[in-house]
Amino acid sequence: MKLAMTGNEAMAYAMKQINPDVVAAYPITPATEVVQLFSQYVADGEVDTEFVPAESEHSALSACVGAAVAGARVITSTASQGLALMHEILYIASALRQPIVIALVNRSLSAPINIHCDHSDTMGSRDSGWIQIYCANSQEAYDSMIQAVKIAEKVNLPVMVTADAFILSHCMERIEVLSDEEVRDFVGKERKPVYSLLDVDNPVTVGPLDLQDYFFEHKRSQIEAVWHAMPVIEDVAKEYGDRFGRYYPVVEDYRTEDAEVAVVALGSTADTLKEVVDMLREEGKKVGLVRIRVFRPLPSKRLQESLSKFKVVAVMDRVDSLNAFGGPAFSEIRSVLYETEKRPIIVDYVYGLGGRDIEIEELVRVFNDAERIAETGKYEKLVTYLGVRGEE
């Protein structure tokens, strides 16, 4: 069935079909609609969910952790400052190995205060132990929410599914939805927790003090879970594709077969870049796109396979790390490719902060720059700030 929906509606609809045990949330632009629409499903009796309107995002995620350790299947939604306020609890959710899912709308962090898209919020949480799936369109956001529940419960790690603010969250798209039965069959009727606080016959202690003698061992065990998550993410995406026809690789290669230069991007810009690649291919240019869909865990092997063959890789970061070295995708891609025999020249383009539109012409410029670098073997700037006034 095809429905016309915004990204927020699509994620809320996926949540309705998943029918989680608990949703605890606090509204924030531009993710407000996700829980607003979901609360309507609760009020209309379309789901069995216990809905907890919390007094802050810190409390919302805390309630999610509480419900999850009691064995519940839990989903919440937030953006930007809300995710920042959840930051403390993000680490607790992941270390306690709770498979919570967040429908996350990517919005800039203050200051200056802004409600539009960039990736500063989730990139600020990239080392919190959550799996991160960056969606290129709302169809993918819908599909990824359903996959996220299954991934999370297989690896016992929390997952955030991200959609770019307004570009996806508020834009109408034609979404192919599954039936409720298909979704419930895919995610399973209920979560099967390793332990539960409600299991009074097998009492456990959750979250006790853990000092020098055991903290490192517990952390090491969590780290191991992250090392092993990638094949599960790929398996779930494959199973989803086999059953419903839509496949999502963790790293997507688009028209890269004979390409000499490639642009790397995350989120909705990747879909725009596909148009640009098609345009440039019409002109006979050997260019391609590599989209990173899963950024955490880092798909290091897949990135090495995809990127080492190019002469030039231009990374597009919708956030700057404020480390005087560019954006996070750029830093990590350079690090990953240090291990390969052949290494491309890698440059960074920081763009679109605070929802600044990225135009087709600017993306063409990125490809043109990359081709020039490929010809000369030299680049002028390691990091370019694209689409900002006052830049040389």
Binding site: R97, N156, Y195, V204, E217, H218, S221
Partner: protein
């Protein structure tokens, strides 16, 4: 023998109850309560006020102090009725 990371239960949990008994926390006292049975009027105020479980009670009567968990805070001596003064704080000796 302390466990390696592969042997630990998932999610930093403690998978059985009452393990706090295995964790002796009374080794950093500087002052130590001494209970004098002959002065004790068995009001049990020390048992009520002890922030840990260091006042040993059997058959509703104080029978001693559990030094495995006592941190020497002195609350028991403080709440002991002055005319009884059955608990005396002394310096912990090495």
């Amino acid at each position: 023998m302390k466990k390696g990371w592969k042997e630990l239960p998932e999610g930093c949990i403690i998978d059985k109850p009452a393990t706090s008994l295995d964790f002796k926390t009374g080794d950093w006292r500087t002052m130590k309560p001494i209970w004098h049975e002959d002065k004790c009027i068995q009001c049990l105020l020390c048992w009520i006020y002890c922030p840990d479980a260091s006042i040993l009670v059997e058959n509703e009567k104080v029978v001693g102090i559990n030094y495995d968990y006592c941190k020497g805070c002195g609350i028991c001596a403080e709440v002991c009725p002055p005319r009884a003064s059955a608990i005396e704080m002394v310096r912990e000796e090495k």
